[in-house]
């Protein structure tokens, strides 16, 4: 399973690689990282249908996670990748907007990796 993680914090890459080191090692999961919404779109254009799951931060400078979400859900119809939104502000408004735009799930920072793993397993 290829997962695209979108966050403007670069250390997120190291963190995910460590948190999911077993899954990565076993080949169960493959992670790709983009550090902005724009980068994420570029990657998705170049590697269509490769990523099945996108984990995106909402709060990023430039193109926000919500913008990215609406782009993905509008353009990549068949089959649209699963998009999980992550935000530091666990507020109702962002949650509602994300759901309206077609987000499949909504996580709040700090990410509970144990819970995230649980969530990823059924989709696997």
């Amino acid at each position: 399973m290829k997962i695209l993680v979108v966050d403007d914090e670069k250390d997120v890459q190291v963190l995910f690689e460590q948190r999911f080191r077993k899954e990565i090692r076993s080949g169960e999961m493959e992670f790709v990282f983009a550090f902005s919404g724009e980068d994420a779109l570029l990657y998705l254009n170049a590697h269509e249908h490769e990523a099945v799951l996108i984990l995106s931060d909402i709060n990023m400078p430039g193109m926000s996670g919500l913008d990215l979400l609406s782009h993905i859900k509008q353009k990549y119809h068949k089959p649209p990748p699963v998009v999980m939104m992550i935000t530091a502000y666990g507020d109702a408004e962002n949650y509602k907007t994300a759901k309206e735009l077609g987000a499949d799930d909504f996580l709040t920072k700090p990410v509970d990796f144990a819970a995230l793993k649980e969530k990823l397993k059924p989709t696997n």
Binding site: E9, D11, V14, L15, S64, K109, P110, V111, F113
Partner: protein, 458 residues
């Protein structure tokens, strides 16, 4: 002869009148009154009783000579001497004529034409002198009148002066009390001003709070996550040690070390943010210290961004930085300049949000315009010679010329009531110009954005 008496009467009358003998010289007044009455009586007698005429003639001469003598000798009549000059020729001529008539009848008869002419000239002289005297007298009395008026005027002036002095004293007292009142008000205003500055600081701190929370939350998440990962890695390492797989142990150890570095890095990041926040809320020490202006600008840009972001969920903008790394440290009061940069950045974000909201509400149909508009705030630092420029640029609506003239005035704000204190830019201006001998300029093009330029001497 009749003329002699008339002259005597006139002189006496004149003397009494002009010298005010009745009041000033009562002794002489009696004598003059007597002469006056006697002259009238003699005149009457000489006219009515012709035979007495030769006697009266000498009486008249006597009288006139007496008057002449009095005028000439008495100091009391000094001012009337001009009359003496007027009558003197006539008296002499008249007396001489009578003497000639009496003793040299023959001579008189043959020369009487000349003698009469002489008398005529004496009379003319007398009349002329009298007229001149009268004129002089008039001029004199005019002069006197003038002097009197002047004195009166002086008196009035003195009185007015005294009145004015009283008024001045009253006014001075009034002004002094007003001055004291004003001083009091000024002190109150100064106190209010420092309170306002404090509340402006607090307001900007409030704007920062959410940004700070976000900025601290992120590193803390990393600290927690990496330390949790390390705990797991250590358990794995123990397993590897007991299995004797030292290759794995080495790999794990280096991972743990890397993670420790991350933990340390993010811990320091949070630390720096907290320190920055404390620095911002603390009142300025007023001490200039070597400061990395790029770090300061970058920090406040992110704090402002996240602060607004937390307040307004729909807020989004692109932050760009173009920082000149050759600047190094410059001597500034970091809290104060930080406040200026924060203020300018917050304003810039406000401007781009306004533009975006304007586009959304004005033309709800024109999705294109909105999607084409990319709210952008750029912070640029640049070293030019002995100066450092910090530019904060936005692509908002710009500042109308009318507003541009007032933006640095205290309490001027274009924000809705309650949203801006109107002190941000005026304080910034003071900090840059007074506190750092620098310049703060605004360059704007309506509809295209604004740029604020801080120029600091190094």
């Amino acid at each position: 002869m009749v003329l002699d008496f008339v002259i005597a009467i006139l002189i006496v009358r004149y003397l009494r009148k002009t010298l005010e003998t009745a009041r000033l010289l009562p002794g002489w007044d009696k004598i003059f009154t007597a002469i006056f009455i006697a002259s009238i009586a003699c005149l009457a007698v000489s006219i009515l009783f012709n035979p007495f005429e030769p006697v009266m003639k000498w009486v008249a001469h006597g009288l006139l000579l007496f008057l002449l003598y009095v005028l000439y000798t008495q100091n009391d009549f000094r001012s009337a001497r001009s009359y003496m000059i007027a009558i003197f020729p006539y008296i002499l001529v008249s007396l001489a004529t009578d003497i000639i008539k009496l003793f040299f009848k023959k001579f008189y008869d043959s020369w009487h034409n000349y003698i009469d002419a002489t008398i005529f000239f004496a009379v003319v002289w007398l009349i002329a002198m009298l007229i001149i005297n009268k004129r002089q007298q008039k001029a004199l009395s005019k002069e006197k009148q003038k002097t009197k008026e002047e004195e009166q005027q002086n008196k009035i002036t003195t009185q007015l002066k005294a009145e004015l002095e009283i008024q001045v004293k009253e006014r001075t007292a009034e002004l002094t009390s007003q001055k004291e009142e004003l001083q009091h008000t000024l002190n109150e205003l100064k106190a209010t001003q420092s309170q306002l500055i404090q509340s402006e600081k607090m307001a900007s701190l409030g704007e920062l709070t959410a940004g700070i929370a976000h900025e601290i939350q992120n590193p803390l998440n990393f600290v927690n996550n990496f330390s949790e990962v390390n705990t797991e890695l250590i358990i794995e390492m123990k397993d590897a040690i007991s299995k004797g797989d030292f290759e794995e142990v080495k790999a794990l150890a280096s991972d743990i070390a890397d993670n420790e570095q991350k933990i340390n890095h993010h811990g320091k990041r949070a630390d720096a943010i907290v320190k920055g926040m404390l620095q911002h809320s603390r009142s300025s020490t007023g001490q200039k210290e070597p400061t990395n202006i790029n770090a300061l600008a970058d920090e406040y840009l992110r704090l402002a961004y996240h602060g607004l972001r937390a307040k307004d969920k729909s807020f989004n903008a692109t932050m760009k930085t173009d920082l000149d790394e050759t600047i190094g440290n410059i001597n500034i009061i970091p809290q104060d300049i930080g406040r200026v940069i924060l203020n300018l950045i917050t304003n810039a974000f406000y401007a781009v949000t306004e533009k975006k909201n304007g586009l959304t509400s004005e033309k709800p149909g024109s999705k294109n315009l909105i999607s084409q508009y990319e709210p952008t705030v750029t912070v640029t630092t640049k070293k030019t010679g002995s100066k450092v420029e910090i530019r904060v640029q936005d692509n908002g609506n710009g500042i109308p010329q009318k507003v541009l003239e007032k933006i640095f005035q205290p309490f001027f704000t274009t924000k809705p009531t309650g949203q801006g204190t109107g002190l941000g830019l005026s304080m910034s201006y003071d900090i840059v110009t007074k506190g750092h001998a620098g310049e703060l300029k605004a360059v704007t093009k309506e509809g295209e954005g604004a740029e604020f330029i801080i120029i600091l001497p190094v």
